[in-house]
Symmetry: C2
Subunit: 264 residues, 2 copies
């Protein structure tokens, strides 16, 4: 537990470093036809992951790192470091960032083998931050209002559904998502990790996304669990590093059987 | 011009009043199954429109008002008041508001007959504000960064397209939108008026939406014109109060012929 508190301090320092790195690139005045490899989002992505890696290398040199930009480095699971690895997504929500929306975030998770212990969703522009630690209540801070805590929602027919984009689905996942969408009260679009943060604030009841990578979902698990909700795969099982990445987040566990049956 | 400056002060006072009215309802902790007529968005919508109407009644009693919540009141066009009417949307982006996203806004326009003279997009939570006056450069203020001015984009193949939701299209407009989407570099979702604001900041190049009401689009016209872009119908013609409400916004006029041909 003391170790977790120490690691939480490291995670917060990494989030601060990433935010410093990202801010100068937001709403930079570049033209639409810049090349992908020198676009503001690419530069910000790399700078933020490097900033986080520098913090982790200095303070947790024995831990492995899985990062969206620079891949897997350091000790692998099951070896040194007690199977502890950091999972980093410097900018989750590339399209939001590119278009100047603040519905993106930096994601930082500490996992033990495949289980997330710590998760941070950080929005560096609005300065909103969600901090989740297994077994503790999620803490949300920021100047725009809201408080951590999923809301009760007993029936899918009353539920607010969110999803980042209709384009994430393929021929297999689209019909399943459409069944879920047909059963809820209302759907809204856009959000990436920020949508999951809003679920942890009791603003959204259901999120279904397909094909997420571990750095897209690892940080969400402790944040949402600590707010009273759940993040699983579409079968309601714990997410795994090598899994499909089809993610179902619920604010109220009573929705799980019906949601799983529609997505199955 | 002096009259326009006076009216601009009125418009800004109305925006301030609406923002005060909206803020207490954002991310209010209500359950998912609240009735529509006492939902936070409904209460905020009504409170904000009433606050704007109170400012306008006190300072421009001779002007007509067209409001999303309380309809058309006061002198109609072509009669007293020189055909001047205020067009109000207290919360444009209901779903964003409901889900705790800040991608909604309050819209205030002053129109003369059918032509918008003044337009304001106000985001009361992030405190971002776009102010457009016909013939003047658009002014953007706020703490999150960015500057008014559309960016150059000569080819649709380089363009960033945005749209609020795939659900706004019907059998007629969907194939047209899909043709446009097929021609651009990338599409992103969510935004309502906030997306148009981002186009005026040079972050988005093309927005196409269908079935908007006058209170959804009137304020956008001076904001985007003053940033160097254009807002028209899908045929490239000026929007009209009784028109289809199919709206095309472009940051660079060179995109117009191709966009119109794809949407036609």
């Amino acid at each position: 537990m003391s170790a977790t508190s120490d690691y939480l301090e490291v995670a917060l320092a990494a989030a601060d470093a990433a935010a410093e790195a990202v801010r100068p690139y937001f709403r930079m005045g570049l033209t639409a036809d810049d090349k992908a490899d020198d676009s503001p989002v690419t530069l910000a992505d790399r700078a933020a992951e490097q900033a986080m890696r520098a913090v982790l290398a200095a303070r947790c040199p024995g831990h492995g790192i899985i990062g969206e930009e620079f891949g897997e480095t350091g000790p692998a699971s099951e070896t040194v470091g007690g199977g502890l690895r950091w999972v980093l997504d410097p900018i989750d929500g590339t399209r939001a960032f590119i278009t100047g929306r603040t519905t993106f975030g930096t994601l930082i998770a500490l996992i033990e083998h495949e289980t997330p212990l710590i998760g941070i969703i950080d929005q560096p522009i609005t300065r909103e931050r969600w901090v989740g630690v297994t077994g503790r209540p999620t803490v949300f801070t920021g100047p725009l209002g809201g408080a951590a805590g999923c809301r009760p929602c007993a029936r899918l027919g009353d539920a607010e559904l969110s999803c980042t984009s209709p384009e994430i689905f393929d021929e297999t996942t689209r019909p399943a998502f459409d069944r879920l969408r047909g059963a809820v009260r209302r759907a809204s679009w856009g959000g990436d990790c920020y949508g999951f943060g809003l679920l942890a604030l009791g603003q959204i009841d259901v999120i279904a996304e397909a094909g997420l990578k571990p750095w897209d979902w690892a940080a969400l698990v402790p944040v949402i669990a600590g707010a009273g909700g759940s993040v699983t795969d579409w079968a309601g099982q714990p997410l795994r590093l090598g899994g499909s990445g089809d993610v179902l987040a619920l604010g109220d566990g009573r929705l799980l059987p019906k949601a799983v049956s529609l997505l199955g």
